[in-house]
């Protein structure tokens, strides 16, 4: 039950945040690609021809090259899927390098083990790279200072830097980074222990607003995404899988298909047995029919003539209505499996005067990132080269190598910008499909999923159910909690990926009487991490239920939430990724204050509050909502108050909070994936209504300057929103919404 102990559950993460923030020098050097030695890594950027060709400057380490003309090239190691990491990580390097941002050119780094964890998941790219990138920048700055000091024959301690310039103040001499780059790069790198880092008040870049490094390319339509890759002689493939998830190909009309216009070849991939599961490192392949053609359109068009007999004997037979029925029978009951228990919550609740018992549920949802999956693969002479948008780039090479049974060194991976990720691209299933297809063709092949493929063959945010019971004492204070998670499971032992309840630190850490139980519902529908896994749905349950309790206790919601946190403390001392009640109370109070909590509201309009902690972020949100007589809601404004420590790029951080609010509002309003007999029933946006511009609320974002090191922001601003909106709706209407999406309860926006 690992996921009960962690504040997050990116199933790919093995390096915990605590270890990462306390890397020893030895570990840092190892991480930087230098096997032995005393100093900061001094390593050639590996094997990518495009990188080598583009750079004529001096290489200082894995991240920094400086040209004689002053151009500073910084390699951004982690996948960019819209979270702004390609801009944010180089900002950290440039800050400690004391570079003028106008001199900086950013490129994606190659995919190489030298760069360690090249992943976009768990909101961890910034916190896990923070120390390493500061060292990379400060190390180069120290080398430049030493070189300039040597040139001027003055002590290094007298040389300062400012915006890519080296300065000796007393002799009024200045020289640019570019002018000493060659000399500096030949010096021995400094001892890591000797590096001097800036104090936050000395920052020139961090916390300022920097426009995204790819924005010029984006607004002019340059080829920049995975789907945009075009190679000479490239062919285009579609891949048709069984609509009933996990079905296998028995027979198909390949000869008819091969005769169609533009079709070059068509063949069956046998695939691996059983339904696909989240498997970014593995070798699983969903069976299907590949059609390789001269254009995307021809490969799509040919599918219309494809006839396949499927064997669904091992396929999913899931039906959403069955889950609903099973959960209804469990209403009010505990689960048979006890996951955590202290004191005697059932007795305390039973004896209490004021208590609440409710069942909540939420739907399966699809990632629906706007760029459907694609991957270009090229097989030649036992080498597989792939161009992909994986969020788990550092796992691509191993996965493809295992699949093809070739050495990992024979797999070359390129990272391209992804048109949205939201966790979907943490799985590498489509990359493996492309590799297998390319192995059968002697030119590069682009595998292109249709939107329908993308929505049908997702690794979904799992739907689920919670029975919630709790009581308050005679003073209206929360005193016992008994929750029961009813979760989907393929193996009957553990919840499927992202289907488990977590974290249970709150309110277990503050209560004497606490119990949590589990029931598993058999399910073969593939699930996976989806922006703020588990938190994205459980926060709605927890924070709506907390409001139910506040109402039952006749307490002000802000007061009740703040009181429930207790005294300021870390739930787990020394663990940066655990909830800090002081930081929680702070964001709750600031959000309430900014929103004007307590002021009289117009008719049919109210404020709703929610707080959630996940992925090391403490976030409170207040929603200002109107509800008309026909259950049409208007979300006028949302206040987001977040404590995620030091902000890297203020513009990107604010944008992520805007996006989290819109995404969460979109999802809670109208998004639902259902299945009948193993077949997904929604396949495109006409059945999956993403929120449009008309429904956007005004969004006020405020970051608390708490003095902590930075943590990630891709996820933690998402979870609180649904609770805030639903709590406001309750205050207006008295209707307690316990099911997502709320469209099913008759609400529109």
């Amino acid at each position: 039950m690992n996921n009960l102990q962690d504040g997050y559950n990116d199933p790919l993460d093995v390096l915990g945040p605590k270890q990462a923030s306390q890397l020893s020098r030895r570990e840092f050097i190892k991480l930087s690609g230098m096997g032995a030695g005393l100093a900061l890594a001094f390593v050639s950027v590996p094997f990518s021809k495009s990188v080598a060709a583009a750079s004529e400057g001096s290489e200082f380490n894995l991240y920094v090259q400086i040209n004689p003309d002053g151009v500073i090239r910084i390699y951004s190691p982690n996948p960019e899927v819209g979270q702004g990491i390609k801009t944010a990580l180089p900002m950290i390097v440039a800050e400690e390098l004391d570079a003028n941002w106008d001199d900086v050119v950013i490129e994606n780094s190659p995919v190489s083990d030298e760069y360690g964890r090249q992943r976009a998941g768990g909101s961890r790219s910034v916190p896990l790279r923070w120390d390493e990138l500061r060292k990379a920048g400060a190390g180069v700055r120290a080398m430049l200072i030493e070189a300039a000091a040597g040139e001027w024959n003055v002590p290094s301690s007298e040389v300062t830097t400012n915006q890519s310039m080296l300065i000796h103040a007393s002799s009024d001499r200045r020289i640019s980074y570019g002018e000493v780059a060659n000399l500096a790069s030949e010096l021995s790198p400094p001892m890591v222990d000797s590096l001097k880092f800036k104090a936050p008040e000395e920052y020139r870049l961090l916390g300022t607003r920097i426009t995204g490094t790819d924005n010029m390319a984006l607004v002019t339509g340059k080829p920049i995404f995975g789907i945009d890759i075009q190679l000479p002689n490239m062919l285009y493939a579609s891949y048709t899988k069984c609509p009933t998830i996990g079905g296998r190909v028995v027979e198909t009309n390949l000869d008819d298909i091969k005769a169609l216009p533009g079709v070059v070849t068509a063949f069956v991939l046998e695939g691996t047995a059983g339904v696909p599961m989240f498997d970014p490192t593995g070798v699983s392949i969903t069976p299907g029919v590949a059609i390789v053609a001269e254009s995307t359109w021809q490969s799509f068009k040919a599918r219309e003539s494809l006839q396949v007999e499927w064997d669904t004997s091992e396929a999913s037979s899931d039906t959403w209505a069955d889950f609903v029925e099973a959960a209804a029978e469990l209403r009010g009951k505990e689960g048979a499996t006890v996951l955590a228990e202290q004191g005697n919550a059932p007795r305390v609740i039973n004896d209490a005067t004021t208590k609440v018992s409710s069942q909540y549920n939420f739907s399966f949802v699809s990632h629906a990132q706007l760029e459907p999956q694609s991957c270009v693969a090229h097989w030649r002479e036992n080498i597989m080269e792939v161009w992909s948008t994986s969020q788990a780039q550092s796992l691509v090479r191993g996965s493809v190598a295992s699949l093809l049974d070739i050495p990992k060194e024979n797999v070359i991976a390129h990272q391209l910008r992804g048109g949205g990720g939201f966790g979907r691209r943490l799985n590498n299933d489509y990359i493996r499909e492309a590799a297998l297809i390319a192995q059968r063709v002697d030119v590069p092949v682009k595998l292109q999923w249709s939107r329908e493929d993308d929505m049908s063959f997702d690794f979904f945010r799992p739907g689920g159910f919670y029975n919630m019971q709790a009581s308050v004492d005679e003073n209206g204070k929360l005193n016992a909690w008994n929750s029961h998670s009813i979760a989907v499971s393929a193996d009957g032992k553990e919840p499927n990926v992202s289907a488990g309840l977590r974290p249970i630190d709150f309110p277990r850490e503050i209560l004497q009487h606490y119990k949590h139980t589990l029931t598993l519902l058999p399910s073969k529908t593939p699930t996976g991490p989806w922006r703020a896994p588990s938190s994205n749905s459980y926060a709605f349950v927890e924070q709506s239920f907390m409001h139910e309790l506040a109402v039952a206790a006749k307490r002000d919601h802000v007061e009740f939430l703040v009181e429930s946190m207790g005294e300021p403390k870390w739930f787990r001392e020394g663990e940066d990724y655990s909830l800090n009640t002081g930081r929680a109370v702070n964001v709750i109070k600031i959000a309430a204050e900014r929103a004007g909590w307590g002021a009289e509201q117009p008719a049919r309009r109210a404020l709703g509050l929610s707080f959630y902690f996940c992925h090391a972020g403490h976030v409170a949100e207040v929603a200002d909502v109107s509800v008309d007589q026909n259950k049409k809601i208007t979300v006028h404004k949302v206040w987001v108050v977040a404590d995620v420590g030091q902000i890297i790029n203020m513009s990107g951080a604010e944008n992520l909070c805007h996006g989290a609010v819109i995404d969460a509002l979109s999802t809670m309003m109208g998004l639902e994936i259902t299945m009948t007999n193993g077949r997904i029933e929604q396949t495109n946006f006409d059945q999956y209504p993403l929120l449009g511009i008309v429904s956007r609320p005004e969004i006020d974002v405020h970051f608390v300057d708490s003095g902590y090191s930075p943590t990630g922001l891709g996820e933690p601003a998402f979870p609180p929103l649904a609770g805030a909106v639903c709590n406001a709706i309750y205050t207006v209407t008295g209707d307690r919404i316990r099911s997502l999406p709320i469209r099913k309860s008759g609400y529109t926006i």
Binding site: V219, T220, D228, T296, L370, L656, D663, G692
Partner: protein, 159 residues
């Protein structure tokens, strides 16, 4: 042989199937990949281009029906000398994109709006942009950027 007028020049598509959607002809045949595939059923707006100045979804147009008509894609929005359209400048200034995949389509819809209405209010913007989904949720900044661009155009900026 089908030839189309795209961004002011005539482009031959060779012996392409006349039923081929403009979206795929632009991307695969002409290498104009700024126009994006999102849904294929005119629900997302990622493939928005201008047909005779009117914003349309390229996934719904067959190339066989388009000869002799003026098509503008995101690659043709800036001036030939590379000067950006006021909207493109505003998009960078406001740091609108997150993933950026929808933004070409957003800019095409906004450009058609500003060509017809130099001082749009929020309702005008909502109406013009309603068919363009941003999965990342950048709507706030899209609206701000359109207002900024409209202001610049009003003062004689580049369109």
């Amino acid at each position: 042989m089908i030839s189309l007028s795209i961004n002011g020049s005539t482009q031959s598509l060779g012996d392409i199937d006349p039923e081929t959607p403009l979206l795929w002809a632009l991307r695969d045949t002409l290498g104009l990949v700024g126009t994006k595939y999102g849904c294929g059923i005119a629900q997302c707006g990622a493939c928005t281009v201008h047909l005779n100045g009117v914003p349309v979804r390229a996934c719904q147009l067959q190339v066989g029906n388009l000869e002799g008509q003026d098509i503008t894609t995101i690659e043709g929005v800036a001036s030939a000398d590379g000067t950006l359209h006021a909207l493109q400048e505003a998009w960078i200034e406001h740091d609108v994109p997150q993933c950026g995949y929808c933004q070409a389509g957003q800019i095409m819809s906004a450009a058609a709006l500003l060509a017809a209405n130099t001082k749009p209010n929020d309702d005008d913007i909502n109406a013009a942009m309603a068919g363009n989904i941003c999965r990342c949720g950048t709507y706030t900044r899209i609206v701000e950027a359109i207002h900024t661009a409209a202001g610049k155009l009003d003062q004689g900026g580049t369109a």
